[in-house]
Every structure is written in C-alpha cells, then in structure tokens.
Amino acid sequence: MATAAGGIAIAALVHIAMMFLHVAPSNTVTKAHGEAVSDYVYPEYEQNWKLFAPNPLQQNISVQVRAEIRPGDGGSARRTGWTDLTALDGRAIHHNLFPSHTQQNELRRAWESFVGSHDAQNRPNGVRGELTERYLRRIAMGRLGAEWTAHGGTVDRMEFRSVTTPVGPPPWSSEKISDKPVYRVLPWWPVTVDDVPEGASNQ
C-alpha cells in the first residue's frame, strides 16, 4: 500500500509540475526540457490562463467580407458590397444573457487562428493555415450564402478584410492615441463546394 501511495503521490506531483511548467513563462527548465513538457501536456492538458494579461485587448477587430457572384445565364460577374460579420455578431450578442458560441467565439477565434497561421503577406503556414482559410469561407457562406445568391447565380470568389479600431483612452485620461482604423485586406479566394457548410447553398 505504501508503494501505491508513493506511486500516486509521484504521479500527482509530476502532473502538477508539468502543468506549472506549461503555464509558466519560458525559463531555464523549459528551455532545456520543453519537448518533454509539451509531450506530456499536448493534446489534452493544453491551457491558457493569461486572462486579459499582460494587457487587455484594446482594439475592436471587425471582419468583413464581400463576394463576386457569377449569374447563371453567363452574364458578367457582379460584386456585392462589404458585409460586417463582426457587427452581425455584435447585434446578436446585444442584450443577450446567453450568447451562443456561434455568435461570440466562432468568427472571433477563426480570425485569430487565421492571423496565427499566416504571415504578413497572408500566406498560409502549412496545413493549419489552409484549414483556417477554408474555415473563414465556410463561416461566410453559412451566414451570407443564401442572401448573396437570392437573386440567382453562384458565389464565384470572396474577399475578406479586417478593420482594426483602437479603443480610445478613458475620458479621464490625458493619453492621446490615433483612432484611425487599420485595414488588412486578404486576396480574393475562389469558392468551391468544400466551402459550403450544412444549411447553406451556393445556387
């Protein structure tokens, strides 16, 4: 029984040490044994508790999209105006006691993972980069596909952009910051059948 107690105590302490090293900043131990810590932690014990730290996000990022619709009769393609997907989310969250993950997390985290898996020229870093591009297209098609094709035609291509607007300093602060929005415009992406999620159509 003492052996079992010792074994369980060691297992618990090793686990705790791994969790600690995973959430701690890069340090002497993780620089030498980071691989072992990662092997232990991923995939099931991943965690991030830097809640609003070291600083809270101080900008609103709006993800906007527009599309090019090819009419069924072979006429020339027509371009839609920009739709602010984030604003639509915002409207859904407004005065909502129980926002859905579809409204609060889906687009927000899709954009985060896009930014995290692409370089400054919007080129994907490997498989994850390509997957997040497809994820964004499916989100857009799921939300706007029907509207875009309401008057016939199919969605041929779509273009995303983000508009980053800083949150101004509090009124009591003398701080001055630029409130000019920053645009990031992605290339036009062709739309295929793989980009149409359940409940959407591209007809």
Partner: protein, 475 residues
Amino acid sequence: MSTHSTEPQHVSDDRGADAQDYVVQDTWIERAVGRGFARVTAGPMAPYQTAVIRIGFAATWLFFLLREWPHRHELYGPDGVWSLDMARRLLGNNGAFSVLVWSDGRGWFELVYALAMISSALLMLGWRTRTMSVLFMIGVLSLQNRSVFLGDGGDNVIHLMSMYLVLTRCGQVWSLDARRARRTPAAGGDGTPGRDVTGVLLWSVLGLVLALAQLMGLHGLEWTADGPFPHVGWGLALWGLWLAHGAWWWVRRYAPGEPRTVLNTLADLAHNGALLVIMVEVCLIYATAGWYKIQGNRWQDGTAVFYPMHLDYFSPWPELSALLASSGLVVMLVTYGTVIVQVAFPFTVFNRRVKNVLLVAMILEHLSIAVLLGLPFFSLAMVAADAVFLPTNFLRWLGARVAAVRDRLLPGGAARVSSGGVSGGASATASGAVADAASGAAAAAAGDAAGDQGNPAGGPGARTRESGGGHTLVG
C-alpha cells in the same frame, strides 16, 4: 490543502498512533511522511467539495449543450462550419481524442450529442457516478476536440476537470448513488451489496461497445500513444477504468475482506491525488492570471477594466458597461482589486478565514462577469472550480437549505428527505446545482465587480504545440 475538507470522522487516528509507537527516534520528516500516509489512506477527503464541483461542472456543461441545441449542427455536426474532414486532418496531427470522427453519419452525431447531455445530467444527479464520470469525460473531449477553434476559457476548465473528476469519488454525498447505498439493506450485514442488475448490465454494454470500437480499429483507441498520460493510450486507459469498475463490484460482492479494503484504499488514494491536482489547478489559474497581469501597464495604471467594457464581443449591456466605466476611481479599484485577489488567492488557501473572504469576492466577480461580459458558461465553470475551496460547514448548511426549499416546493419530497439525510433525492441535487451557482450571492457582500477572467483569451489553440498566436486578447 488541509485548511478545510475532510469529515472528521473519516480521519481515524489509529495509524497515527501506531506510527508514534515506533517512531521515537525518527526524524521529523519521517514522522511527517507517516502522518501524511495515514491521512491520505484514511479515507476520501472533501466529500462535499468534490460533490459540489461534480454538480457544478456537469450542470455547466449540460446547460451549455442545451443552450447550443439549436446551433449544434453548425458547431459540432458532420457538415458544420469546421467540417468533420477538417477536424480529422487536425486530429490526425495532434492526436486528440474524439469519438465524433468515428462516423460521418448524422445519426452518430445526434447520438453522441444526446449521450453527452444524458451523461451530464446523470453525473449531476450522481446516478452511477463512476460510470457517468467516464462518459461525461468522453462527451466533453469528443465535442471540444472535434471543433477546437470554438472554445473559450470555460470550455478549457471543463475539459481539464472532466478528466480529473474520473479519478475522484465525487458521489459520496448529494448523489442518487449515496441514497441508494443508504436505502439498500446490506445483504450480509457487513456492507456486502445486494444484486445489482442495472450496474452489471451497464458495465457489460459499455465493455461490449469498447471492444467493438477496438476491433474496428476506430480513431483514438491506441494502447500506448495519444492518451491521457505518456505511454498510456486512451484504449489502455478506458479498458483500465472498465476493469477497475468491474473489480470493485466483484470484490464488494464476493471478497469483502482484505481485497475490498485494498481496493477501497487505492480508490481513496487516487481520489486524494486527483483532489490535490484539482486544487492546485485552480490555484494555477489564478496565479497565472494574476502574475501576468502585474506585468501589464494597463493593470499598473489602473485602467485595464475600462477596455473590455468597450469590446464589441464582450459588452452585451453597453449601458451597464458605460456606467461602470464612467468613474475612473471605480475602474481603478476594480482593476487593482482583481489583481490583488488573483495574486493573493493561492497563498490564502492555508488560512481558512482569508481564503473564504477572497472566495466570496471571486465568486461575486465571476457572477458579474457572467452578465457584464456575456460569459455565463465561463463564469459558471469558474464558480464551480472555486467551489472546491468552500468550507464544509457552509456546504452542509447549503445542502440543508436546498433540501428545505425543495420540501416546501415539492411536498411529496418530504418522505425522501427524511430518509436522505443532508439532501438525498434527485431534485435536491438538481436544485443544488443552481444553488451552487447562486451560493456566492447568498453568502456575503464585498463588491468586486468584473474585470477579467472573461477569458476571451482562452480556449485552447489547436491542441497542437504550434498553435502560435491562437490566443489574442492576450496581448
């Protein structure tokens, strides 16, 4: 960890006394180890705390699944926005576990979602707690790992705790299991349980399903890779749990002597180890959240709380946010208060009184976050996590109150309670979950509103180590 918890009657002093007889010339460290050993083998610690977190996490996940019911296909369905094909490619890389990739069928998805809800409800009620904790974990991992870019900090807490709960004996009180144990007259008068057709049936069916999945070579059931621990695959882990449940039933019925004592003590050891891990995990959450904040200039200049109130995704009640953010002094007090509480909490667990004051502050803060930042499920999960540090006296008092309220509302339930002690029946446990969430509000004052925790930051990256940049609101 010793500040609260443990039923006094569980802590027998026999072993301690035995040890003292021959440790006259032992060093203090040997005596400490001896005392520690006596304590961790004396019985499962913190029965009320583990019960309340069981109810809390199961209820949070159940409410979440109910809330997302209309959106379930979009979030987790085979042709949702993150399609099953995409999920397979990611899971193939990171080795995370999900039964949803076993089939493309709509029926399979609906079945898994339904089972996730049912197992949450039954775990909350404490019906076949051991089995349900495993099914609950499978449900949580399967849904979350399948659509990894959807979660936030709340999902992350539930993900971890669903695994830890499997190893705790969290159904000793406030559960249907406990009620059944009280009511069933011991067959042999020595604690030997009677026939248990339901249990045997449940166990056999689950074993059959696991065997079938294994034979079909389905994803995620490796023996020595991609599991909960290095060199332990989910196949090995799940079979191990299945065998352990079977062995526990068998020794209780047929070998009530020493084998039963041995298994019982092993289970207590696992429970106490997992409880320690859960408590440290909660401390790690606050320590990380607090210590990284100290380094940020917005937390230093006292304006940090102003900013989340102006983020589109986290201001469902702009009027309320504007009101709170209108006073520089209030914003600074909340900003500093948040950091102080988070940094201090891990050290206060050794002082019962200070810990309880901070606990009330944190629970109130989470309840404000639920409304103010529109993060009800994250907040509920964090309140459930906090609850592991609530004092036993308070929990027993709460249980009695909940039972009393239930009796007033459901006159028919009175008979059940009288036989059920602190709070026996199903409805008591169900309402206990709600009361759990509200407990902070009932408990005391201390207005420390909002601030952070609203981990928009959170949510796992991609369960892969190169998830880089996945968590923005972080920086």
